[in-house]
Amino acid sequence: MSDMTLFKNASIASAGAKELAVSDVLIKGGRIKAVAPGLVVEEGVRVVEAGGKVLLPGLFDLHVHLREPGQTSKEDIASGSEAAINGGVTGIVAMPNTIPAIDSGGLVRSVMDIAKRNSRIPVYTTGCITKERAGEEMTPIAGMKSAGAVMLTDDGSPVCNPQLLRRAMEYAREFDLPLASHCETMELSGQGAMNEGRVSYQMGIPGIPAISEEICIARDIQIAEYTGAHLHIQHVTTARGMEIIRRAKGDGVNVTCEVAPHHLIFNEEHVIDYDTHYKMNPPLRTKEDNERLVAGLIEGVFDVIATDHAPHTDFEKRQQDFASAPFGITGLETALPSLFHYFIKPGVFGWDLLVERYASEPRRILKLDEVAVAEGSSADLVLFDPDGTTTFSRKFMCSKSCNTPFLDRELGGRVNMVMSHGEVLLERD
């Protein structure tokens, strides 16, 4: 079989262009050979009729929990990377809060080895800032970097001790590794299980106040400003937290940040009847936060969209009361269709924003090669049908877990084809 593919009349989405551009795209030898209208069909070229469909670069998710090693009943690298492909994501970054936590060069290397064997897309891994994520001792940062770690984080917990965080930033700065912060002030979060507010009061669920997150964002930014390290703020949920970051960026602090689709789409009002599919940390905030985060995304405050894909078994999520159930929902398979359904389709923002924030910028933060639907780029592509629909049944999902509010719901849009380095990883009507 030929290794050449020609997409005819695809609507191409790219970061710089407000409008989709209709063109043909020729793939050869794993790379994009030509992008131009009316390319001639040569013999032996596979032709994909892409009229009316959107061709976008493979997405890249900077925040994914793959649960391997240690919690493979929830997910493993094989199933998590297949879930990514199912959602049009062709590169992922694993969080280190596994069991044991990824806090040494050896563990980083073992995750990279498993990924090489079991995943059809590139999988990168983070390493912990502190040993066992316990917040007490610095990890061997240089050793993890040379084993392949691309970022440092204690995700799931903040580094509570500001002196330790400062030292880690000073040290990591010299290795050019970004530090990613899960911002939370534990004393303020207490036993909280959802946003503190009107709904938490009515439900009798202890609340996590917005200031728990905002105080830690402000603190971490000040330490980053003092040390000059690259700080990446994970999953921002409050408008006030976002404004702190906007100001810091204006002041020239080396800070980037991410927002998760669920924090744009859902809010505390959705936490009805103790449905644990709306329980995550940081929690869903208010309707006003939704609106202001979307505005901030359009204004460019958020560098990246990342899902915080957090699989948990049915047993943990659905057989549990709200307070006892673990935090987190899956996101890899639903991110693209949900962002299309809620924002692109109604015209809130365009494909250019999605490509910029969920394909280009996350790769840029990790200094990876750029991926675009452009001549010379690696052929990492997603063919998306805006007129199709996707129903997120258990059967449809490749993740081992299905803890998502979209379970058994239908959204507009459908991933038809996913290609990585020119290889077709997924194809469906």
Binding site: Y201, G204, I205, D321
Partner: protein, 313 residues
């Protein structure tokens, strides 16, 4: 005709008509208690099982008496009362109860939402006997039933009820304020700044001290029990200071007496904290009526709910 429900999980689910129906249904049971034989055969052959994952003597015995006066067979399952009992093991126990063919399950738990979880997993009628900070619907019904007697009906419009104490952590405050609002009453709250939430239900006013609250001229003062054991977190400096600022002291009682105000408390009371000892013998103190009405209100609930179990007969 008011259609029966399967479960009673929270007052918020009920319409005003349903609340009034339950209050009306409790009335004949109150009359029944004046007779020497206090029992009716309504629930003969039905099984009531109660699961109290939180220590309780008053509520569990009130339910037990209510069920027995309806001639049901009642069993209190001995379950661990530690806070570590999670939803999964509660559901395992509920599976066992299913096998025993329980018709009614009465449940109390430290975690909010456990009765909701259980109700989704069983055909038995589930009655929430208190879940975490969330709800205590039968307490709300007995409170409303008590005020029904005082006000002479179920229209509470224009009546002002002041709830004093730990509004934040109180399921009684949530459920009782909800039922009072449904029946038309105005609800005000007073308590330490740490224990009165900023995000209150619509229409619930907040007072800073008793002076302000008395100016509002409440018909009823509802004192909440102070919980001292809150995981070591401090919400007010001392019991003494609480009493001096938020307690119904002798001095405040004198003003209350002059205004003919009713006093309520869900029990058990901390004398010298929420109230001065003299309040207990105050002629408009409704605490004992609350206990008595608790049985009637719970009988009304058991009488009204309809389990959805498959049966051959």
């Amino acid at each position: 005709m008011i259609e029966p429900r399967k479960d009673l999980l929270q007052i918020a689910d009920l319409s005003r008509e349903e609340v009034e129906h339950l209050l009306g249904a409790a009335q004949p049971f109150k009359e029944l208690f004046k007779r020497s034989v206090k029992k009716v055969p309504t629930l003969q052959g039905k099984t009531v099982l109660s699961l109290f994952y939180e220590p309780s003597t008053r509520t569990s015995s009130s339910f037990e008496v209510a069920a027995k006066r309806l001639s049901a067979d009642v069993t209190n399952l001995a379950v661990a009362t530690s806070s570590v009992v999670k939803g999964e093991s509660v559901l395992d126990t509920v599976d066992t109860l299913q096998a025993m063919r329980a018709d009614y399950i009465i449940i109390r738990h430290k975690q909010a939402g456990i009765p909701n979880l259980v109700a989704r997993h069983t055909g038995a009628a589930v009655i929430n006997a208190g879940d975490g900070f969330h709800a205590h619907p039968t307490q709300a019904l007995l409170d409303a039933s008590t005020l029904h007697d005082v006000f002479g009906g179920s229209d509470f419009s224009g009546k002002r009820i002041l709830i004093v104490g730990d509004i934040l952590h109180s399921r009684v405050a949530r459920s009782t304020s909800c039922i009072l609002a449904k029946l038309g009453a105005d609800v005000g709250v007073l308590g330490p700044g740490t224990l009165v939430p900023e995000h209150r239900p619509e229409g619930m006013r907040k007072f800073s001290d008793f002076e302000q609250a008395f100016d509002w001229k409440p018909e009823v003062i509802y004192l909440l029990r102070v919980q001292f054991e809150r995981q070591g977190e401090q919400f007010f400096p001392s019991a003494g200071e609480y009493h001096s600022v938020y307690g119904l002291t002798d001095e405040r009682l004198d003003r209350v007496r002059d205004q003919g105000v009713w006093v309520m408390h869900p029990g058990p009371v901390n004398r010298g904290v929420e109230l001065a000892d003299s309040v207990m013998s105050y002629e408009r103190c409704l605490i004992n009526q609350q206990v008595e009405n608790g049985i009637a209100a719970r009988m009304a609930v058991l009488y009204w709910l309809k389990p959805q179990l498959e049966s051959t007969a």
